[in-house]
Symmetry: C2
Subunit: 242 residues, 2 copies
């Protein structure tokens, strides 16, 4: 019997990839408008390379971009990038389509909800609070706060323990086959792979760990209901067999 | 003959003190709303103490606030503070009353304008660009970019050199008697003390370096016109005396 549904945060609850792309494009556009002596495409490609080398949480992207483009350091250009990046992030922060309806539906049906995510705890909580998502969730588990990253079993086990459920009573929904699906399956949870965003065609070697694959979150409530109906039927049969 | 008017940025062009106070109050309010187990006044006083010890540009104020209040670390509370702080800063960033009219007036009268400010160059440019003030100014000089702080003469001398004027051809307007007024007077500029914000009653031991004291920026164009008129009369007299 399913009692708890866990969700990953980025590209499952929050539309992160699309947001980041828009924010980066707007940043480069504003730098060009304020005098960056390089065309948009060259600068944008360089920024993407930089991000793939240094990671998306690197705080000095725009400084480094100037160095890589061999443009003399100019705080005005960095500020132009930072402003547009932040403005876009604040203005366009959105949940993935249909998320709130799905969460309400699950909550009304009596399931408890949790988030299991990687990332900087303050930045992840910023997204949750800005979108006023905190009221939907009983608990939020953020890997950096525990000193591990998904798919490490520790974070999944902790989430199960804190919610007071067995692995087979919990569903994990996430967009990453490796960190979310393989991770949750390792500890025995039911797994739902949300084929969405930039990981929709990646890490397919872990596809075998997905119990379900969905393209819309609106399929989640039905899957959970199905699992519980199945469980009930099996229990009924066992009673009759006695 | 006055050719250039320099302005300080914080609490002269941009209404920084008022903004920072609102941002801090809103941050504490949001932390309390999200479960900080301390009353508003206690937390706000502790934040002010922390800022006076660590400086206003310290990036971990809200982390440290929890430690000082002996509240267990909770990234949700830190995020609540950060969100309200940033939201307020973005929403309420304002120029000091009358600034734009004064700048336009001076520009139309043929004076060139500059900014001479302390602080983090990217943060200072963020304020300038967010407020779209860059078009008013010929040049912006930011001390951290030069490795010195006002009142060090180096930044004032550099500003004069880059604008191509002698000290007596330049006016410096600022709210700080020590860094702006004493600093500019050291190199021989005409000084206008803007008695405004939290420094309106401080550093009075440097009052002697102020050629003029004003309570509204709208007095600046008149002062500059007066100086040039005086200069012209003196020059006329000298011509007649020949």
């Amino acid at each position: 019997m399913i009692k708890v549904v866990f969700f990953d945060l980025d590209d499952t609850i929050v539309d992160t990839t699309r947001l980041a792309e828009m924010a980066r494009r707007n940043a480069i556009e504003n730098m060009v408008r304020h005098g960056l002596p390089v065309d948009f495409d060259t600068a944008y490609q360089e920024l993407l390379e930089l991000i793939s080398e240094y990671g998306s949480n690197f705080s000095r992207h725009f400084d480094y971009l100037l160095r890589r483009l061999e443009v003399p350091y100019d705080p005005k250009l960095v500020a132009a990038g930072v402003i547009s990046y932040h403005n876009t992030k604040f203005a366009y922060l959105r949940t993935v389509k249909g998320v709130r309806r799905v969460l309400l539906d699950l909550q009304r049906a009596g399931y408890r909800l949790g988030i299991i995510t990687d990332g900087d705890p303050i930045k992840q909580w910023e997204k949750i609070l800005r979108l006023e998502l905190d009221a939907y969730f009983d608990k939020v588990f953020i890997s950096d706060h525990l000193g591990v990253k998904k798919p490490h079993p520790k974070i999944f086990k902790k989430a199960l323990r804190k919610m007071g459920v067995e692995p087979e009573e919990a569903v994990m929904v996430g967009d990453r086959l490796y960190s979310d699906i393989y991770g949750a399956k390792q500890v025995g949870m039911i797994t739902v792979w949300f084929k969405y965003g930039k990981y929709a065609d990646r890490e397919l070697e872990y596809l075998e760990y997905a119990d379900f694959t969905i393209k819309s979150l609106e399929e989640v409530p039905e899957i959970v209901r199905g699992l519980n109906l199945e469980g009930k039927e099996r229990a009924d049969k066992e009673v009759h067999a006695d």
